[in-house]
Symmetry: C2
Subunit: 405 residues, 2 copies
Amino acid sequence: MTLVVQKYGGTSVGDADRIRAVADHVARTCRQGNQVVVVVSAMGKTTDDLIRLADDVSRTQPPRELDMLLTAGERISMAVMCMALADAGIDAVSFTGSQAGIITDTAHTRAKILEVRGDRLRQALDEGRVPVVAGFQGVSTARDVTTLGRGGSDTTAVALAAALGAEACEIYTDVTGVFSADPRVVPQAQRLRRLSFDEMLDIAASGGRVLALRSVEFARNHHVPLHVRSSFTWEPGTWVVEEEPTMENAVVTAVTHDTSEAKLTVSGVPDHPGLAARLFRALADQSVNVDMIVQNVSQHGTTDISFTVPTTDVPTTLQTARAFGAEIGAKEVVADAGIAKVSLVGAGMRSHPGVSATMFETLAAAGINIEMISTSTIRVTCVVRADAVERAVQALHTAFGLDGA
Amino acid sequence: MTLVVQKYGGTSVGDADRIRAVADHVARTCRQGNQVVVVVSAMGKTTDDLIRLADDVSRTQPPRELDMLLTAGERISMAVMCMALADAGIDAVSFTGSQAGIITDTAHTRAKILEVRGDRLRQALDEGRVPVVAGFQGVSTARDVTTLGRGGSDTTAVALAAALGAEACEIYTDVTGVFSADPRVVPQAQRLRRLSFDEMLDIAASGGRVLALRSVEFARNHHVPLHVRSSFTWEPGTWVVEEEPTMENAVVTAVTHDTSEAKLTVSGVPDHPGLAARLFRALADQSVNVDMIVQNVSQHGTTDISFTVPTTDVPTTLQTARAFGAEIGAKEVVADAGIAKVSLVGAGMRSHPGVSATMFETLAAAGINIEMISTSTIRVTCVVRADAVERAVQALHTAFGLDGA
């Protein structure tokens, strides 16, 4: 008997009809001879509603209480999911994060899973029942309720799949899989049948919103095959699996883009060793999430440092960088929110030199200026003007042969 | 330092403004040098909304999952209450029923408290913090989440007050206390300053809706003084305490009424010993909650048995009573939903004979016919036509000198 973990996101359990449709699909999976563990998110906009309530009530929101509040959402969806499964003839039983044995550290609102004690779930499976587990939550070593932060329900599902030795972890969402580019930008984008964990990581890191980075890392580290698919069409989606050394990799798998960052430039920095390190340490101490960093060639004994951060972090970043600039005698610090990133991702890049060159030529031919460049072994990212990024994605999608037959 | 348990019902925490008002009151109570444990119900109509969601999703509602669903409501209110308390400068910490150590049996949707392990609450109090506990819920000996049924949050508050040795348990609600009659029926009804547990029990059992019977029983058995008061006016309300042998009791404390029951009559029952016992055993087996029972004088070798049940139990009762009637050769079974109960309650009745006689005379003088009578040591109840019950309450309130100076 094959064990699968099925995770259903907020839109998949958005209302009573959707919940019944999910219950029917779980029942079908069971009748096909599989064991199933279901992981659910909060219904639709429940979490947003709870956050709004907290904002209405109070300016002071202790993280422990925020976690207690938000975990109510998954509790509701898992209980009604069990009821719908009972209607569908399935003996289901709900488990909170705590009951499912998901033990975390004490970092409220962004806890890390330390251990999964799967004995209650295993017992339920042995009794022929379907465990329905609340995503996004656990219990800390101090016996308090915790949440796992953004993408937490995906992480719950992957952690359970790893702990229970599941064959696969199916992530049900409102899109039919991972695409070669955002279909809203590139109508001819293709659904990818199969990706390596590394490719998925770079896609997630460079703007692909389907899976949270953290759950993909967890899946890679624990060798859990992921299947990203739609709970609206139920058709097969995209598999994210270990890279097979024998398989011929596409040079470029996907073109991604991200408009959620801004560029900051500290200009006229004296060219002394260690100054850049001090700047980025100061930003890290403020929990600013720095992404790309480029240090321009030094001229006249000074240098310019540019980097990107999430637009939400711009005020903190400006304050920190200006204090640093004044201290070391830099010329000025400017923020530019009008940028976007465009990236190529593909495991085949490792063995195919020249991808970057083709990328730059394609952008140049389209009249698009490149402001920053960064590369990894399987990704090339360029920063361009935000108003040019959709043209950039379309041109690159065509140039690298992703438009399909 | 005095320890008080304060319980806030659904209307008391109905919206963000109400929650902030409660937080201010708790802060005031702390600044007056008291230790406080707060127990909260779900906000306003949250529980009704969750039940409606369950009905939308499913016809099959396993009691374990219904409990899991409904406990989300208190979880939300306790978390936001802690946030509001933080705003008010109070270091508060929330506890689910399970975290508060409320251990119950496994009877989902109507669990009974077996034990209260108060160590986490005591520790929080010792650290100078205000524990905020979810009412209505516990954890079963099988480690499942349970709910305590109707009036469950009051029971939580009383159980915690007993376990922690609190000075008093304050029950905050949307009325200012317990009255000598329903003020909507008798505008001149007086707020009672002080009642014995026995009186409160008979008031609750005969139609007074302010406190659930079960929490009063618990308070009496554990000697926990109750203070029923309003979270809208914050004025002192009604104390429910042990009866003091030295105190002169009012003959009649309150006139209550109840329109939620129906009368059933099984007529032409052969006058053999044991037949009535068989009928009421059969009804008990169907969980029908029989209240008053009157067996009329036997005539021509047959007898009539009348009894009252909640109107919601009428269909089950009719079916069971008709099967019984057919089996023993009774003449007929009829249900009458047009009745109401009116009761006098007062600890002084024990030493004052003649209360019943005065009651019957008063009703007769008002032209109101009595259909059934039942008495206990401190209560007399008459069944009358439903359309006459308000007149009955008013006439009795005046006749027994409760209208005030």
